[in-house]
Symmetry: C2
Subunit: 150 residues, 2 copies
DNA sequence: TATTGTTATACTCTATAACTATA
DNA sequence: TATAGTTATAGAGTATAACAATA
């Protein structure tokens, strides 16, 4: 495979779209969606934060995050508390149930993908692992970056 | 990064969801969506096929592919012709315009991702390239596999 | 006036169920 | 009866625009 960035971006895009389609589709039995899980993972990793910061970390617009937070609040997985000094802001944090669900999903989720990956030899798995680490750094914004007004 | 398949599947899922979100969101200026592009890429690579086969190749259900094909037909990018011997079937093929658009997009699309990848050193890019090849094989079904009745 | 968050609204993508036409 | 495709319908995910509350 070429390492020309342009061609690589094309190939990567098409592969990602197809894999993600399957990942979302095959979670019908799961308790929460990938979108919800992604938000929870960020809260588990980085701790409580405002909806605006969470939206920025997740690369979605604030209204989109409002909806995700609402669904997670309804499910009792996150809690909203007033900001101590700024009345406009809100702090979103994982509840015990949210943290428990995250741990549980981390151990049992994505069976389909797990099976596929397990069928690879260890070299290939290591290659994917390295690529994941590189890609994650590539798309993780610095903490607190606002999304508004891009 | 670990090479345990389960942990790797978890990490990979979260990274893919976030990257794909950005890929879709940043195509506002593009002429066609990633879903449409993916279908066109399959037709460009594998040639004309029935809607059912295209759905299977793309890992979507037939009604979903019906809509994608309808939008591409409206845009003049694919053409539908009757199957020569089976009146129930249809053959979907790229038009000249569709092939031209695919070539064009292959050279100019995903600028955002291209820039990010260009900022990496060559080793990292090669790692991602290797991973893409592995992942593509992992999710590409054999030609002609039906989706129905899974 | 600027910032934070929410509400209102709309579009894309995808699915399942039911229907039509052909084999 | 079985298969290929489409239509009808619904739900998730995301966006932009407009609004309310607070700084």
């Amino acid at each position: 495979m070429t390492s020309d960035p342009r061609a690589l971006a094309s190939e990567l895009s098409l592969v990602l779209v197809r894999i993600t389609r399957q990942l979302r589709g095959r979670r019908a039995d799961a308790q929460i969606s990938l979108t919800q899980l992604s938000a929870i993972a960020t809260l588990a990793r980085d701790g409580a934060m405002t909806p605006g910061n969470l939206a920025a970390r997740e690369h979605v617009q604030p209204p989109s995050m409002t909806r995700v937070i609402a669904s997670l609040t309804d499910a009792g997985l996150v809690a909203r508390t007033p900001h101590p000094t700024d009345g406009r802001q809100v702090l979103v944090s994982l509840t015990d149930a949210g943290r428990a669900l995250f741990e549980e999903e981390s151990n049992a989720r994505e069976e389909w993908m797990t099976e596929r990956l397990a069928s690879l030899n260890e070299d290939d798995r290591n290659t994917i692992g390295d690529a994941v680490a590189i890609l994650r750094d590539l798309v993780t914004p610095p903490s607190g970056t606002p999304t508004r007004g891009r």
